[in-house]
Each structure stands twice: as structure tokens, then as C-alpha cells.
Symmetry: C2
Subunit: 395 residues, 2 copies
């Protein structure tokens, strides 16, 4: 059958449906980012169908998405500083603003009322009402200078939400991490930690919201901040983690958000090496390494922690591998196709959705049998985000 036909059918369905809104549960819905077209596909994860296509979202070449607490609204953070609020029940853009010059990520507050965006240009964090995207707080980053000596603000990276109506963010140029307490919305209370390490480029928060861990571009090691004890300040862990003295060629810095936590083990993408690091959570010491197919990008645990799924940087981005979290054996290698960019598990883990850019499709696999069960057409898909994220800290 022609590859075009399902795509045309999808367009027809979208055209029909976008005139009215759906009355249905949102728990089994999600969005797929179409990076080149600047659009989203709204999907039904039970029927494995596309419900809507939402165009007009600007530059989505490095986009991320968070959800309102009711699961109805997806907030899309675009590379061009665009922030869009999408109604996934109606397939419409509720509101779209361009809030900065170059944004790289965002987060939604614990109570769902605030959207925070971190910006490269002009630097700093802006915080908006999740209701109407009106500006609540504009937090400039630390002043610094660029290569030509001109004044600028530090780039903000690794922005996450944390319990207690807080956000945590790092400053690339100045090596800081900030805790932004938004309990009084108009009055951000900021706790600044300086000298956390050289050039933090991304960060993650553990699923329980306790540990904030920033990756460093300027030196080996990671900066760990215990949010239960911010008074202790950040400390360095995994002093060997990074590019090392050899300064290996790094095809793509791995996403820290993609770290997998499974039981007492954390699985980390090595930087510049075809390896996964295994780390004990209690003391953050490395306990082993797993040799894999390429330089890992996302290292994700199936929700039950039994399997670790890994995708890879160019030129090895056509394969996904599955590691048994107990034996550390690779139990499966799947050739998905060139440009395998992202993975998302169904909330209870029976399926994984994988975006394969160069095949213009999302592939759905049964995680027990590793069988390819569905193909969903999408135009150069990248990030996949399901509504269950609405209920999880840091996602």
C-alpha cells in the first residue's frame, strides 16, 4: 500500500475534526512533534490513531512539551522562543507568543498554574500564567560577556520543576544553579549557588523530585544538588564522567533528561563513548559499564524498571537497543531506521513509541515481544510526549 495514503487519510480526518472538539478522556492522548514542518500531531494511544494536526508552531527543531494538570493543554517550547498553548481536545492553538529569542526548554509548576521558560537569548527565565500566558515574572540571568567582550546575560539551561512550587535552572556561562521559589507568584525567591562546575549544559531531576543533577561541558563530573537539603549546596559526583582528557569527538551531547532510574541503579549515557554507565543511586558511584551500538542520546527505563531502552547519535541513529536492568545484557537490537530521535513509553510500559525521522513515521513496539505493532505517519517526527507527564515531577 502506498505510504502516502494513510497520510492523506490523516489529513482528511484532521480537517474534519478540527472544526469541533472531542468529548473524551485525555489520559491516553499525546503529541508528536513534526520538527521540520513546525506542527504537532495529536495522537490517541489506545487506537493508535492521529486525531488532529496542529500547524503554525514556528521552529520546532529542538522542541519540548509539558501538560496542564487536566491533560487538555500542551505547552510547546520552540527553538525560536515561541511558547504555544495547544488544546488537544480541539486541535487548536489557544494562544501563541514569542517570549524570547532562542529558548531551549520549559517546565510547569507543581500546581499547574505557572509555565517557566529558559532562554539562550537574551538569557534568563520567564514565568507565565498557564491560563492566558501573561507574564508573571521576568528573571534576568547573571550578567557576563560574550567572546567579543560585549555584555550579555548567561544562558539558562536544564530548567525543571520541583516540589514545593519551585523551579531549578542552571546558568551555562557562569556555572550556577538557581532554585526559584514561586510560592508567592509575583515575588520569586531565588537561592543562587555559584561555582557548581564549569559550563553546565543540561540537567535532570530524579523522578521523586529530590536530586537535581547538572552535566558539565567544561570539565568532567556532574553537579548534584539535594533539594531536601539545599543548605548543603551542590557537590561534584562521578568525577570521571564527561569527555575526559582525550577530548573524544562528541556527535551530540546526550540528553540528561533521558537518564534512567531503575530501582537502586541509574543508567547514564556516556559522553563521546559507545557506553552506558551504571551508577548506584545511594552513593552515586559508578558500578559498571555496558558497551552499546553508538554514542547514546536517550537512556530510558521502561516504567517498571525492568528494561532500559537506548537510542544513539549520528551516524548510529538507526538502531535502538534494550538492556536488561538486572543482568545488564543487551536483550534486543532493533533496526528502526535513520534518524531515530526519541522514545516514549505508554504509562504502564506495555508499549514504546519511537520517532523515526527519515521514515516519516512513529513506530510502536510491544515491549515484551519486541514486535512492531503499529506505524503512525508523521512528518519528520522528533519528540513524543504523552499526557501522563502531567502527573510527574520534572517531565
Amino acid at each position: 500500500m502506498s505510504r502516502l495514503l494513510p497520510f492523506l487519510l490523516t489529513l482528511l480526518v484532521s480537517g474534519y475534526a478540527s472544526g469541533e472538539c472531542l468529548t473524551r478522556g485525555t489520559g491516553d492522548m499525546g503529541v508528536v512533534v513534526e520538527r521540520a514542518a513546525g506542527s504537532l500531531k495529536v495522537v490517541d494511544t489506545s487506537a493508535h490513531e492521529v486525531l488532529f494536526r496542529v500547524p503554525g508552531l514556528g521552529d520546532l527543531s529542538h522542541a519540548s512539551v509539558v501538560y496542564s494538570r487536566d491533560g487538555r493543554y500542551a505547552y510547546v517550547f520552540g527553538r525560536d522562543g515561541g511558547l504555544s498553548k495547544i488544546d488537544i481536545l480541539c486541535g487548536t492553538i489557544v494562544k501563541r507568543i514569542v517570549q524570547g529569542g532562542n529558548s531551549i526548554g520549559g517546565a510547569i509548576s507543581q500546581d499547574g498554574t505557572l509555565i517557566a521558560v529558559s532562554n539562550y537569548e537574551p538569557g534568563g527565565v520567564k514565568i507565565f500564567s498557564s491560563d492566558d500566558l501573561s507574564l508573571i515574572a521576568d528573571i534576568p540571568a547573571t550578567p557576563t560577556t560574550d567572546r567579543e567582550g560585549k555584555p550579555k546575560q548567561a544562558k539558562t539551561v536544564g530548567l525543571v520543576d520541583a516540589p514545593g512550587q519551585r523551579f531549578v535552572v542552571s546558568l551555562y556561562d557562569t556555572g550556577e544553579s538557581w532554585i526559584i521559589d514561586m510560592r508567592i507568584p509575583g515575588q520569586p525567591a531565588i537561592q543562587r549557588f555559584t561555582h557548581i562546575g564549569s559550563l553546565p549544559y543540561d540537567a535532570l531531576i530524579t523522578p521523586d523530585g529530590r536530586y537535581y543533577i547538572a552535566g558539565l561541558f567544561g570539565e568532567d563530573g556532574l553537579s548534584l544538588l539535594d533539594l531536601w537539603h539545599p543548605e548543603k549546596g551542590p557537590r561534584m559526583i562521578l568525577r570521571d564522567y564527561g569527555r575526559g582528557d582525550e577530548k573524544l569527538p562528541v556527535y551530540k551531547m546526550p540528553h540528561l533528561e533521558g537518564w534512567a532510574i531503575a530501582g537502586e541503579r541509574a543508567f547514564l549515557p556516556a559522553v563521546g563513548r559507545n557506553q552506558i554507565l551504571v551508577v548506584h543511586r545511594g552513593d552515586w558511584q559508578e558500578t559498571g559499564r555496558v558497551a552499546v551500538h553508538g554514542q547514546p542520546v536517550f537512556v530510558m527505563a521502561r516504567p517498571d524498571g525492568r528494561q532500559i531502552w537506548v537510542n544513539f547519535a549520528f551516524p548510529n541513529n538507526d538502531v535502538v537497543q534494550v538492556i536488561d536492568s538486572e543482568t545488564l545484557n543487551i536483550v534486543k537490537s532493533i533496526t528502526t531506521g535513520k534518524g531515530t530521535l526519541h522514545m516514549e513509553f505508554s504509562p504502564r510500559g506495555e508499549e514504546v513509541w519511537i520517532s523515526v525521522r527519515d521514515r516519516d513515521e512513529v513506530q510502536v513496539y510491544d515491549t515484551e515481544s519486541f514486535e512492531l505493532t503499529h506505524r503512525i505517519p508523521a512528518d519528520k517526527p522528533s519528540g513524543i510526549f504523552f499526557t501522563a507527564r502531567a502527573h510527574q515531577t520534572g517531565l
Copy 2:
């Protein structure tokens, strides 16, 4: 203001709304069981409002609820063997059957297609289609005899869902645990473990879906089954856990589902004692005890694991206590009112909803400030179940 007024307003709103269905996200919805009236209140956890009242659900004196994967349908398991499918967007009963004589709990399969119910009378497990509640499998329990020597089936208890499209259940009279594999729906594959311990009365599964733990009425200790390694069979843990030689008066056997897992610690309600047991998860050894206000019933971790909330059996069921999971200090005691029966956290933990039967209300607390922020009228409320459960194993 009269206590009756909000209740009447609620009835009016319900009456108005039940004629039509709502187009809205389901991620911030839930139900409150009204145990005496045999009805449910459908609630909005963002607005703190009642959306619908759904009567006609039979005996809900010991009811539990699971959700479809889209979050739209609540399946209610009643004491009288009733199984009801409720559309929470419309406030209507989609279908109701009486499937057994005396049921005590149920579960929904990992993929959301199957509903399993465990029965005291006649014993056994029935499995239904989540779509139309048609019978898919009827699994009789082991034959045994009652006190008068008449033949009967063993009571089934502690039914949970597990990854891999499985259910796990225990048999009270015969001391067994069964793994029911439903990958081929019409052909349940059952793995039976006998001699797990004397009179299992309830069970839990850890949030990652790995460990199934049954509480025993007939002896001290708990039976633990590692579902990653069923070939190893169940083993006894916590040999001191139970009523002990003194055979303390037990006002209410604690709910095992209410165990809290926080980091590497598990918090268990002691049986017959005013204590919480602290257990290390790795080796399941007891590491400490916390003295509390009464005999604990539910011991629940805030989603970030920082706090443990506890309610108590009669005659101390008018208080809730909060334990700091790190210091093990009691950081707060709240007098909620007589008949404090259940608690449910908002998915990211900023709020907890507490049902207070004798005050005919659900109280909502801010978990940081411990402030009472909302009161929601409900007729003798007991269980509270939010839709985020749709995405969690064992809930």
C-alpha cells in the same frame, strides 16, 4: 453558613450537568465514594468542585475503584459483588452488573482491556472486558470446606495487576498466591504457589510492579513473591510482623495497599500496635519503628516520598499524622474529625484529600503548610480515587 446549603447547591449542579457530557481534560478529575448512600461524587481537583453525583451503585461499604487508560471511565467494585462502569465526563452509569455474591476488590490489566474481580462468594476471580463488561474468563478458586464441612471455594484476596498483562491474587483459606497471565485473553495461564503462609488476607504490589507482598492473618510474617523471578517462589519476610504471641486486639486489619515506599525505605502499618514499621527495601529487614496516635490503617507516602501520612482505626480515627520520611519525626498531627477513612494525594503531591465520614465532607490540605484549604461536601465519604491511578501499576 448552613452546612446544608453547599450540599443542596451541589445537587442542583449535578442535576443540571447530568443531562449532558463535559468536554474537558480528565487528568484532574476523580471520584469520592459515598459509602452509605451507594453513590459517587465526581470531582474536579483543580476547581475543588463536585461535577456530578452518580447514585444507584449498590453496597459501597467497602468499595474500590480503578480507571480506564483514557481516564474517562471509573470501574467501581462494590461489597455486594456489583461491578459498575461510570462515565465521569457524563456522570452516568454506562453499565452495571452483579458479578458475584461478595466482592472485595478488583484491578485493570496493564493494557486497560481487562477488569478482574476477586470474590469472597463464591470465591475465584472473574475477568471481564473493560469495554462492555462481558465475561472473558471465570477462574474458580481451590475447593475447600467451610466450618461446617460444606464444600466451598477459597476466598480470593489481594488482587492486583502486574506488568506483562498479568494479575496476581491470593487465596485466603488455602494459603496460595496465583499469577494469572492474560496475554491470550480467553486462555488464562495460571501459575500456582501453595504454602505461602497461613490465611493471607490482603496484598500489595510495589509501585514498580516487581514485588507482590501478602499479609497473613494466621501467622506472623509476610509472604514476598519476586515477579521478576517467579521461579524462585514466595519467601517469608519480616517474621515478627503480625499480631504476635500476645494476640493484641486488632480494631481493623490495616490495608496493605496503603504501604508507603519512599526511596529505600518502606513504611508499614503495625498490626494491633500504635506503631509504623520502617523497613529497608533491599533486604526487607526492619530498621526502626515510629510511635503514632493509634492503630494505623493507611500509611501513604506523598508522591515525592518526603512525607508519610497516616490515618487510624477506631477509636482513634479522628486524627491524621504526618511523619518526615528522613528524620522519622512526627511533624504534624491534624484533628480532621471522627471517621477519617481515606486519603488521596494530588499526583504531584501539593495537596491531599481526606475523607471524614462523620462530618460528611472531604477536607483538602496543602501538604507544605498543612493548611485546610477546601471542604467538599460528601455523604459519608470513604474512598477517594483520582484519575492519575490510570497510569500506575497496582492502583
